[in-house]
Amino acid sequence: MSAQPLSDDEIRKTTCYMCACRCGIDVHLRSGEVRYIEGNRDHPVNRGVICAKGAAGIMQVTAPARLRAPLKRVGPRGSGAFEEISWDEALQIATGWLAKIRSEAPEKLAFFTGRDQSQSFTGWWAQAFGTPNFAAHGGFCSVNVATAGIMSIGGAFWEFGEPDWERAKILLLFGVAEDHDSNPIKRGLGAMKARGARVVSINPIRTGYNAVADEWLGITPGTDGLLILALVHELLIAGGIDLDYLARFTDAPCLLIPGEGPESGLYLRDAEGRVQVIDRRTGALAPFDGEGVDPDLRGGLAGHRTVFEALAERYLNPGHSAEAVADRVGIPAGQIRALAAELARVAFDEAIEIDQPWTDFRGHHHDRMIGRPVGFHAMRGIAAHSNGFQTARALHLLQMLLGAIETPGGLRFKPPYPKPLAAHPVPHFTATPGAPLKGPHLGFPRGPADLALLPDGSAARIDEAFTWENPFSAHGLMQRVIGNAHAGRPYKIDTLFLYMANMAWNSSMNPGEVARWLTDRDETGAYVIPHIILSDAYASETVAYADLVLPDTTYLERHDAISLLDRPIGRGDRLADSIRWPVLAPDRDVRPFQSVLIDLGARLGLPGFVTAEGAPAFKDYADYLVTHQRRPGIGVLAGWRGDGTEHGRGAPNPAQLDRYIENGGVFQAEIPPEAQFCKPWNRAWQDWAVKMGLQDKPQPYLFSLWCEPLRRFQLAAEGHGAQQPPDHLRLSLLGAMDPLPHWTAPQNTDTEAEYPLHALTQRPPAMYHSWGSMNAWLRQILGHNVLYIPKPVWRDIGFRAGDWARVISPHGAIEVAVAPMAALNPHTVWTWNAIGKRKGAWGLSQDAPEAEKGFLLNHLMHDLMPPDATGARVWNADPVTGQAAWFDLRVRIERIARRRFSLPRLPELSLKILRRRPA
């Protein structure tokens, strides 16, 4: 054994992009070629570890599926017939289409992006363009948990917070398979185990993280809200709650306006609009944030209840008891009560204290930080149901009752979070020809007046975000864009511009129909969606449907910023942001998409993209990263600003990227010890956040057990106010917009009898959506999937090894290979997500197992629910946020004999580059 050590290689440190976790990586090069990728030990996200995808990144930069040059469609859409064109020609075509749209009707551009992590930039471009139709993928991903989090606690599980891995003594994982924060979660689970802390999994399926959990509650899908509220009930009954925390840091002591009037159920405010509590020192009304105020949970103002009293009344009701819900959730009542007791025991009997004085926003001095070492984490298992928003709210309610958010051992926010709802914008949507949008597209309506509706009451956005059907669609609703663009609902568009989302396949429900929408022609023979521009780096299924393909670089060939203006990579104890930089030069005629957008912006003369003289404002994206300022002193990257010694705030520093590269691609700033916890109420945090430019002034706030913005929509549904919902939505708004968390059955529950099984997907740990399959190493691990069937169902139906099944939903049927599983909820079948590929895509051979045997459950889904008695079809989505309800899917299965390939079998999509440009 005399293998050459690699230690003499050149190592370039950058940021991984084999998933959205954004770990630091050491890329080893020899003679300009990537030889090995390992984790960066000094990186706050992964601390040296790496996952299978990350370690396989080397095969991503050599995959045959990489696009090589700009493509112009020359055959019918879907035929895959293209010719290679020059960048000049590509940019001219795009500019031609876009300039016309911008000058006539900017809303005719729909620009939607996937998990690209440069939203603050793409959004800024779209705002400058002036179209209201911009969003990223959150609407079909996890907007339920994101929105519920922001609206309840000013942060969320979804990339905005993490359990206190070092201190939690028990951790409850609700519906998490891999999640975005995958390496930190794995490191955290390992650390908890090493300390002897316990992990409880609430998940219908016991794989991955849930397999290593010490306790497994194999819940029936869609019923987490019931379980959580039963825990709330049992804790309340026993008094196992943190009264002090509730009184000081939540809206529990806030008074509610009684009666039936137009303000009933809103917080009682004084003339200056300050929310009122009763101060225990005086027994009189006082603003919640008054100096020295000691809020009383009991209130005592005649006729006014406190939020605490309202919630106690609600959840003490025996309807919420463990007994009442046990059958429905599929967990014995004794176990639910034991879990409640355990939570209370750990929270209060095993409370932790950190000897760290701090001062809260009312000026109260605390000599220690008291922690409830109960960690919670939740993701799409609760998010991807039509009751997900309220379920996530219920979970935050439970955390608040235990005092386990932003206290040691509980959920910790990652800077720039926490951030009160008030600090978020409201949606902007008014399109004016030739002019930019007045503000950012996405935000949080505070009430009906903020909905994105045109004067005639119709939706202003192509995705119908921020409408009465889904008022809090804070991430937009990308999943509706293609269908709506095809239907001309609410209006027709001209150009569909997609970036980094495989919308013609795994990220759409019903991909067969999506393909039809994309290729459908009108009476004149023209495509119903006139132009489609796509930026992709690989030969995905969607490429075949584009008219113009802008080939992107791979992640090792470009600049990127993981910015505090986007989804943060910081940790509970530190702020961090990072970059990618070209550690390799592309060997193809491809360009970084962000630089292409900058070029397009300049060609279109978009404000901000051109100087006063009309010259391009930025050379490329790297130039933008360094010179762009959102507010004076605040740029895309926080580290090494000004002369290189200023962090957070400071003038642009032309050498900033060099500093990042010298520091392993990442900037980190540890939060001062006195500001590390209790951030929303902690003066030290508020001051530090201002200093670092996360906010411009202290903005302490209370957590919301009671969600006032929701109540405003109920009031509208009750008939109050100028903005009134359509009559047919009044009833459902009254239910959905409950200001206190509640559970309703998933929308499709009434099809239970005919479709008795829940059908789920899970993230495979070694695959990232569709793009793992072109990776020579990863596809050997998971080249095709099977449907897992619970043992009892397997026996009842009489399946045998090697069998196949026909899986039928209200929307369609598929034929797939099956296998049994014991550690599975008995009413649930599942498979790995996005393994099935369309024949010919991804540079794979015709007979690749991904296409022959792999399959998607997406063919069984539809964006709309089946028609009701009146023939109306509601969205297959959460009524609060519009989040796609992927996991509401119900099916029945039939045993069939072994097949050679799975169904449906859509026509092949191989790219046929008819004219290649000389290299």
């Binding site: 050997q780 691990i781 080249g783 095709h784 999937n785 599983m821």
Partner: protein, 288 residues
Amino acid sequence: MRAVPSVILFTTLSGAGFGTLAAAGLGLGAGPGVWLAGYGLAGAGLIASGFHLAHPLRAPLAFRRWRTSWLSREAWAAVAALLVLAAPAASALIGGPELRFLGALGAGLCLATVVSTAMIYASLRAVPRWHHGSVPLTYLACAGTGGCFLTTAPGVTALACLALAVLLGAVFVLGDRRVAALGLTRGWATGLGSSGTVRSFELPRSGPSFITRELVERAAGAGSPLLRLLSLLLAGLAPAGLLLAGTPPAAALAVHLAGILLSRWLFFTEATHVAALFYRGDLTPSRP
């Protein structure tokens, strides 16, 4: 275990070849034809074995570890046997003297070759069906029987064939019992068995791998009583019948060799490596 044609051919042909050479060396019916047949069969077998190697040109390296490796010993023994017997064979071809001593020595080396071949398999603890004295016994019996056809009186050969059939039959049955009695399970292999029944939920890869192709997969015919019977029939009973009915020994030998081929195919495909327990979970050939 993977039943590779080259290895099946090798063990079958070289077994019969060295058997024939041993018989010739012992002077049981010498004659140019017998020597040619013996060398031909053994040589064909050895050439076939080369196809099994991923790097055939490195085969000469195989002589280096005769102290520990049965494969190396086999190589030495085979070469020694062929060299030592060259003289008596040449002498027989040109009608020279019988060279009895070299013939007997060569015969011994031929049998040593066959035993070495068998020991390659029998020495593998990891393949319980092979890890048994019955393997060298069977290989010797096959080689011996094969060696009889062209060298011994048909009646004697027929008897040997019948005995071989009984032996092969017994080995099937006893092998099954022995493997079953070991009671090796997935729970044992993984060390997880103490807390319940262990079933494979998901394999490390969804496609083929060296391990699955080489050690885990087995042909559908494994354990089939019909095929087993057919192998006895072809290797023993039918040749015995043919010989007694006066068919030319070469024809009977062909039938016998067909039977040995089948029996070797079963030998490989029915044997299961303990590492298969990680994948498939049982070692006994399935009987439908």
